[in-house]
Symmetry: C2
Subunit: 501 residues, 2 copies
């Protein structure tokens, strides 16, 4: 039987939830395939309604969901209410994208003469791919878990989903699933549209199951690599969309430090300790100029860190990993601890920790993601040292540049040099707080992600679709969106993009 732990107290209790057996996982995957065979020919309009019904279902059960999640994560009601709002918003945003229809990439080339002779008629659009395995993360019990963006985008695309519950919040996962499944049934979705399994081995069985068409994963690099290895042993390899690890370097130019030392220190402290530092976009490394203005920021950070209380972590694995990583960063990495907070409370907690190292001593050993309220400050004197430090680091989801009012050349040089290593460049802001929108991209170079499409924003739907082209097809065979007279969505017709009237 699975247990659940309240991290604010450290107390563990039994749930009534059993791990899912291999036989059960196989049955569930087969049921997801059966549901997919119905879902894949459903209309966009129906699916948009389904997504809205799921969002409505979450709102109806807001109180229960927040309470059970708070007891399992200690994230607090304010944060959890916001996150549940984000989850609902994600379902509704995909409903909007479905109705708009661009995501289908509908493209029509009429038959006719071409420079290479007669060309047949081709009509192409994206179609769903099959049951999607979704692995929720510990740090977002709603927005990146059972009711999260992977589930929303996979369903939006027209797929069924099998979700592997995170062991850190089994009760939240079960309640979330029941609410989604009930709402889906009321909306007319076939049985097996949304499924939930429990247990590490069940997750492995799921990834190996022949019915599964792709995997959406948010979690640790090690766990992600283990799933990638399982995929390699499949008869048919499937796409793995992983979001795995990120350092999120933040560069402060000398001019920025001169102009806004206090504001930067306050914002940076807030960002690296937000959610106890358990965000994939947490700034883990800050490149700070040497000299008085940099010292002012550091001194402010030090004061804030020393005054901080212990922060609740999501589970004890994160806690012990953090201890190990701090050991490596201060040992082989050579960084020194400048300040730590104090912790006098029970439960699973970390004290905010501020470390410092000179740019010339900064190596890959100090460039390890610490999933907690930890910041390594790298002191530099020349931009070349910043560039070298960036080269030493693995790829990240984001990088942030704090610049002065009037240094366009430096900003541009930094931006061009850093851009190839990340997926999002933030200016004079902080990388935490990821806007869910059409333009968002939440993917960077390995090991932050491993794919060309990310898990946040409307384009996340593209992960769970593939193209299908119809050549000289009778109209009765074509999906509505590819028929000649259809005008409700943007389409590219003979090379020209035509928007809906």
């Amino acid at each position: 039987m699975l247990t659940t732990t309240d991290p604010t107290t450290g107390l563990t209790q039994d749930t009534t939830i059993e791990v899912t057996s291999a036989a059960q996982t196989a049955t569930i995957a087969a049921s997801a395939q059966k549901a997919f065979d119905e879902l894949r020919t459903g209309s966009r309009q129906w699916r948009a309604g389904l997504l809205e019904a799921l969002a409505d279902g979450l709102e109806e059960h807001r109180g229960e969901l927040v309470a059970v999640a708070d007891a399992e994560t200690g994230l607090g009601e304010g944060r959890l209410n916001g996150e549940l709002g984000r989850s609902q918003f994600q379902f509704r945003l995909f409903a909007e994208a479905l109705r708009e229809g661009s995501y289908l990439e509908a493209t029509i080339d009429h038959a006719g003469d071409t420079p290479l002779g007669h060309g047949p008629e081709l009509r192409r659009m994206l179609i769903p791919i099959g049951p999607i395995a979704v692995f929720g993360s510990s740090n977002f019990p709603f927005a990146f878990s059972v009711v999260g963006g992977d589930t929303a985008s996979a369903l939006a695309a027209g797929n069924s989903v099998v979700i592997k519950a995170h062991s850190s919040h089994p009760l939240t996962s079960r309640l979330s699933f029941q609410i989604l499944a009930d709402a889906a049934t009321c909306a007319g979705a076939p049985d097996g549209t949304i499924n939930l399994i429990f247990g590490t081995q069940a997750g492995r069985d799921l990834v190996a199951d022949p019915h599964i068409a792709a995997v959406g994963f948010t979690g640790s690099l090690g766990a992600g690599e283990a799933l990638i290895e399982i995929i390699a042993t499949r008869e048919n390899p499937i796409p793995f969309f992983g979001e795995l690890s990120s350092l999120n370097p933040l560069v402060i130019t000398a001019a920025a430090a001169e102009e806004r030392a206090a504001a930067i220190a306050e914002g940076l402290f807030g960002s690296f300790t937000l959610g106890a530092g358990q965000f994939c976009t947490k700034p883990g490394i800050a490149l700070l100029p040497s000299g008085a203005s940099g010292d002012a920021i550091l001194s402010d950070l030090r004061a804030r860190t020393s005054a901080a209380a212990g922060m609740v972590l999501l589970n004890s694995r994160i806690s012990s990993a953090l201890t190990d990583i701090l050991g490596r960063i201060t040992g082989e990495g050579g960084a020194r601890i400048l300040a730590t907070g104090t912790n006098n409370e029970a439960g699973i907690r970390a004290t905010p920790t501020l470390l410092e190292i000179e740019a010339d001593h900064f190596t890959a050993a100090a460039a390890e993601e610490a999933f907690g309220p930890v910041l390594v400050v790298v002191r530099y004197t020349a931009l070349e040292q910043v560039f070298r430090a960036i080269d030493v680091m693995p790829g990240s989801l984001t990088a942030t540049i704090h610049h002065g009012c009037d240094e366009p050349q430096i900003v541009r040089a930094l931006s061009e040099r850093i851009a190839p290593t990340v997926g999002r460049l933030v200016f004079n802001g902080f990388p935490t707080g990821v806007r869910v929108s059409w333009a968002q991209h939440h993917g960077g170079n390995w090991p932050s992600t491993n794919s060309q499409h990310s898990s946040v924003g409307v384009s996340a739907i593209r992960r769970f679709l593939r193209p299908l082209a119809f050549q000289d097809a009778p109209e009765t065979v074509l999906p509505d969106e590819l028929r000649e007279g259809y005008t409700e969505i943007p389409r590219r017709i003979d090379g020209v993009l035509v928007v809906a009237p």
Copy 2:
């Protein structure tokens, strides 16, 4: 020193080409990286001009190129002239796509209030990813080799390329490369924009090289899987876009056989023997109804096959593999040979071969791609047998349905049942002859391809791009296409697709 063989005579001679050493490959990859660092900030307009200059260069050297390719492949001047035209068309089509600009997926969300609070400004577009390794195929010495679609789409995206020459046409590869490299230099491209290496080990070294950002591959399943294994050992895994193997089933309904027996037999014979059957889209399996109308088609196919002369294959590896595969299809696969052509000529040749098996005896053992002029006819009496046969086969690039004038329900049932296994559905036509256009898709389920984007058509460029989002960036840092007043390309602004005026 590498050798070259004229397959029409079987005679082999030395070239002056040496295999590329590990050290040379590393130097070349580093040079491609250096070129990329210049190319990546170049303008779309300049790159469009570059692609057109490459197409022009190929046209200037048409005579030499066709002659050297004919001597190495035996494909004949007609086919090779057509294929060179296709290669040029591909460069020009990507130039058109660059000027049109949709491929950037430019997306802007202005800052402002959202249901989740204040949202920062986000501006996102696709950017090139780095030096691309291109593996040419044997069967298209132009269109899928040095001057092929992978090279064109990788350059169009703003990347440099390192091409591994196919051992079947080293002289064609070298001449093609020299023409491209000269034209690129004249167009102002940096040294290292286009590179060529020779040798199997050099190809492996290339895929392992840290500078390489992705691999475009067209070739055999075995060779592809070997490269995938190398990628798994890299510190940073990179995308592998493989086009590997395809059976391309073709279904003939009873009504179609009644209505058009002669035309279908003629077309099908032409399609499975086109280019000596050495096309990834060759129909390898035909599902033919039992009874008189099916017998008529089979009898016609048999007569055509028996009357056919031996056909030149590209190399002796293909020839010996074909013998092995025929052994397996007739052995474990249980298919019987109905007809073979005759071959009295020298050189590397295959005789067209027609096989037959009953649907109830059809298993995966008879569902193996035979890269040559071989067709397995599966006789069926009920549509359920067709569905079962489709389930037995691996995924394919295409499937073809020959249907009668008035059987919309059967066409629809077939189409819906087969669509999940392929990337292109052809109706009352033949899968060979792949139109290069905006709507084309040349990818299907494993093992035909392994990715969500294919190597033919405009969308091939998407393989070699990734998103980058700018958050609250100063305008001076932004690419032109993301600046506020830019109107030359389609963009999505606050969720609304806005086309160029």
